[in-house]
Each structure stands twice: as C-alpha cells, then as structure tokens.
Amino acid sequence: MNTTTATVELPRTRRRAPRRPRLVNAEFLKLRKRRGLVLSTLALTVVPMIVAYTVLLILHVVDPDKHGPAGGLENLSGSMEVLSQLSVVAAILVGATLGAGDLGSGVFRELVVTGRSRLALFGARLPAGLGLVFTVVGPAFAVTATASTAFAGSSDVPGAGLLASSAGWLGLVTGLALVLALGVSSALGSRGTTIGILLGWQLIAMPLLLQIGALGSLREGLVGAATERLEPARLFDGGATVPMSLAAAVAVIAAWAVVPLAAGAWRTCRRDA
C-alpha cells in the first residue's frame, strides 16, 4: 500500500457480459490449477491405458504365438472394466475437492459475502467438475478405443456403435460418481472423509452387497446394480448380477444423482459460512 498507487481509480463503467458461465469458469479455474489433483486423475485414467496397451503391444510383437493382438474386443472389454473403476476413483477425488474445497480453504465465506446466492455457488460446481473429469477420462477412452481398433489384428474389431455406447456408459458411471462425491462432500464439508467413505463404498461395500444373493431385490436399490444393467451388452457378456428392468435402473440412477445433490445444496445453503 504505497502512496503512489493510492490514486488509482476503480473502473465504474457498465459492461454487459454473460453472467452464468463466469462462475462455472471460476470453479474450473480452481480445479485445473490444482496440479496434484489433475496429475492424479491423469495417472488414474490416461496413464494406465497407455501403459496397458503398450505392454500388450510389446508382448504381442515379442511373442505373437503366445500373446494375441493388443487390441480387439476382448481387450477392450478388460480395459473398459479397469478404466471405469479408475475413472470412478478419479471422479470421487474431483467431486470431493469441489464440494469441500471452498470450506477447506476458508474462501466459502468470502464468496457468500459477495451476495451471490449459495445455490448458484453450489450449482456452478457440477458443470465445472464434469468438465474436468471428462477432459481427463475422454482422452483415456480415446486411447482405449483407438488401441482396441488399431491393434485388433485378427481379433474381433469393436464397432462404432459399441464404442459410442461404451463411451456413454463410461460417462454415466463417471458422472454419477462425481455427483455423489460432490453432494456428500458439500454435505459433510470434508474432502478426506468423503473420499474415504466413497472409496470404501464403491470399491468394497457395494461390490460385496451386490454379491449377497440373500438380499434379493433390495440390491436393485444399489447404484452399481443399475449401472451394470445399462452396460453395453456385448462388452461384458456375463450379464447383470442383479436382474432389473430398464425403468427401474433409470429410476435408481436418478435417485442416486438427485438425493446427494439435494443434500449438498441444502447444506450449502444452510451452513454457517
């Protein structure tokens, strides 16, 4: 604060600009500048796919009799299973950061004192989070799709329709994980707790529950059962663990998206800043 700068005028001119995207852009800025977060999501998605197909390619080149082509439908199936799991983890990291980042850094109150509605502040997080997650998961899928097609050799080549539905399904699974993490972390206000709970749920508790046949139709309420129902059939031909109708699957997915978001929005609007 030196006296030579004390006379600088603050511009007071009126200039029209679109209002809604600015908050989303600001949220995206906050996310993409977190180097650790961006690097870890890349390490979870793009890097494993590149490494996996490189290894498969080398193995095939070195010993084609023992190791089949690196691409093809079968390897696409395996890599999509891995990629979907890792993308869910990446989405949880991003969602948890989005939901609790402002509180954790103490800037939430600075945003509230701007007078902007808390609901608008919360609402900007979702598109920003989806933007980052899809920016990372998209190239990972591109690597997978390209490699499975280009290196198919004598194996079955995945068709465009299958690749498109696989991309859509991956987007759904990843987006749901992001929404869940965003809602839970906004409600809890803690990034670490959210990551711990959701990784435990997604990677341990839910897969176990899905395997317990004694639970019967109760398992239809699990988001994992619903997303499994929508998996591209040719890719994972083992069939769904929990048989359920398409309408039921859509309803369960909608509920798993809406309830955490509503809880997060409600808590964001009500909490002391």
Binding site: M1, N2, R14, R19, K33, E110, L111
Partner: protein, 315 residues
C-alpha cells in the same frame, strides 16, 4: 458509485445472536452514518465478529432486524451486499491460485463489471508487482492487502473491516490508516471492528463501544471522550494551602498530593473549562503563585476502561 441516499448505511434494531445459552450479541441497536469511518470497539470476545457475520449473512440472527445500505437483510441481502466489501477475521484465499486468480474467482461471483476492477484494486493495494505469484507464498501482510483489493471489487459504498491491521507491521498499519481515510474521502463508509483503542481513535470519526455483546455507548470520538473523567495537575508556591482551597470547591471530586503537584479530579457532572477557570481564579486570589496548571481530558482509552470497569463492577 451508486450512493445510498439514507443517512445510515447500517441500521440494526434489537439484534441478538445466541449460541445455546450463551448470548454473543445482545439487543444491539447500531447506526453507522454514511460517509464516516465508524469504529466498532470492544475487547476480544465482546461479540464484534459475530455482529459482522450476521450483517454479512454468514450466520443467522436469533432476533432483531438489520438494514444494509437501506435494504433489509437477509431478505434483500444480494442487492445490499453487491455494494459492500468486507474482510472478516483473517482474509482467506486459495493458496494454489495467484493473487490475480483469486480476485478473478471472487469477481465471477459479483457483477460483470467487477472483473474490470481487478487491476485497479491490485494497484491500490500495492500488489501489482506480486499479483501473479501464488498466494501461498504471500506474507500475512500481503494477504491483508489482497483482502482489501478483493473488497474493492464491489466498488463498495460500505467497507466492513474486521481487525484489518492484524499482521501488519508499523509501516503497513500507517499506510492502512491513510488508505481508510482515503476511502472515506471518496464518500465510502468504513465500519472498522477492532479491539485496538489507539487504532480506532486514530482512524475513526464515530465509535460504538461494545462489551459482553452489548453496545454500551455510541457517538463521536470527541463526545465519548468528553463524557469521561477530567483532571487537572496543579503545582503552586504552597501546595498545602492549595489543597485546602481545592477541598472546599464544589467542582472538585478529589485532590491528591503527588510528587509533581496536586492531582485534581473534577466531578463528572461539571463542565470542565469553566470549573478549571474558577479553580485557577481562586488560587490566584489566595495569593498563590501557580507554577503548573494542566487540565487533561480522558483519552478514548481511559474512557473505554472507565466504561468497561464500571460494567464489571455492576455485574
């Protein structure tokens, strides 16, 4: 700047905040005049920050009403806060972003014009040269400056600053005072919360003294200090005779011999100057040579201690 036309930029009535059984802010009626530097003065834990948090919509009031820039809050808080800049406690930032990026994020939550104010705000806070460094490398003083820059993005009619000089070195505090007076000279109002009496006395035109959540006194600095104890230090050619004369004077509450003369404390209900004139006249009429005659008025600090100690005795 769209100046709010009313005489007061902050008005509260019966404002109360309870945390369970504990009352943090109790029945506060506050009036902050437009275009002034207003001090909200009280010891730590007196409820200053809680009141500011209620004004800014960070926490809900348990009872009472508030108006900011003539608008009721929280019902019309979005419009009211659009022209309010604030620093609450220690200003917080995203450490992984630069100073400029931090302002960009806040500007995005404000009106579209706020983005165009970023460079000016950084310059005014003296941070232009360091604006593109990550905030986690900033010192506490630089963060305070960045907090000021952030509050300027609103082109504020009202600046609410909670303990703003915490962490500043003496030179920084001096510059900060000048900056606040500069804001007031531009027609902005500054509500400054502080436990530092000296700071409030040097910066503010008006002050409210708060203790245990209640506003115990409100007015101009001069008015508040004038209501305090008045004393005169007198030394004469014969202090013994002077003490006898003073003991009989109706305006004198007490007169005590001290190494450097006689310390005379005046009654609180007398006007200081006429009483001092009369005392001087009587001493001269008694043929005493007056070697020292120094009327003193209580500083805001003395007045503050008087008020708060009186409250403690009453409790």
């Amino acid at each position: 700047m769209n100046i709010h036309a009313g005489p007061n930029v902050v008005e509260t009535s019966g404002l109360t905040k309870r945390f369970g059984d504990r009352v943090a802010v109790e029945d506060v009626d506050l009036r902050v005049p437009r275009g002034s530097a207003f001090g909200y003065l009280g010891p730590n834990g007196a409820g200053k920050t809680t009141l500011i948090r209620m004004l800014l919509g960070l926490t809900r009031a348990s009872a009472g009403t508030m108006r900011l820039l003539g608008r009721p809050v929280p019902s019309d808080r979005a419009k009211a806060l659009a022209r309010v800049g604030a620093i609450v406690e220690e200003p917080r930032f995203y450490g992984h972003l630069t100073g400029r990026e931090n302002l960009t994020v806040i500007a995005a939550a404000r009106e579209p014009e706020a983005h165009a104010r970023i460079d000016g705000a950084l310059a005014r806070a003296g941070l232009s040269q360091r604006a593109d460094e990550r905030v986690k490398r900033y010192s506490l003083g630089m963060r305070q400056r960045l907090g000021v820059a952030r509050s300027l993005l609103a082109d504020p009619e009202l600046l609410i600053l909670d303990e703003p000089t915490n962490g500043l070195d003496p030179a920084g505090i001096h510059e900060f005072r000048a900056m606040i007076r500069g804001f007031v000279a531009e027609g902005r109002t500054v509500l400054l919360s502080s436990h530092l009496l000296d700071e409030v006395e040097k910066i503010c035109d008006e002050v409210a003294i708060v203790d245990h959540g209640r506003v115990v006194m409100q007015g101009s600095i001069a008015e508040l200090a004038a209501g305090g104890e008045q004393t005169i230090l007198i030394a004469t050619s014969d202090d013994g005779q002077a003490l006898a004369i003073l003991a009989e004077h109706r305006a004198v509450a007490s007169a005590t011999a001290a190494p450097d003369g006689i310390r005379v404390r005046l009654q609180t209900d007398v006007e200081g100057e006429p009483a001092a004139d009369d005392i001087g006249r009587r001493l001269v009429l008694a043929d005493l040579a007056i070697r020292r005659f120094e009327p003193t008025r209580a500083s805001l600090e003395q007045r503050f201690l008087e008020i708060t100690s009186r409250l403690e005795e009453a409790a």
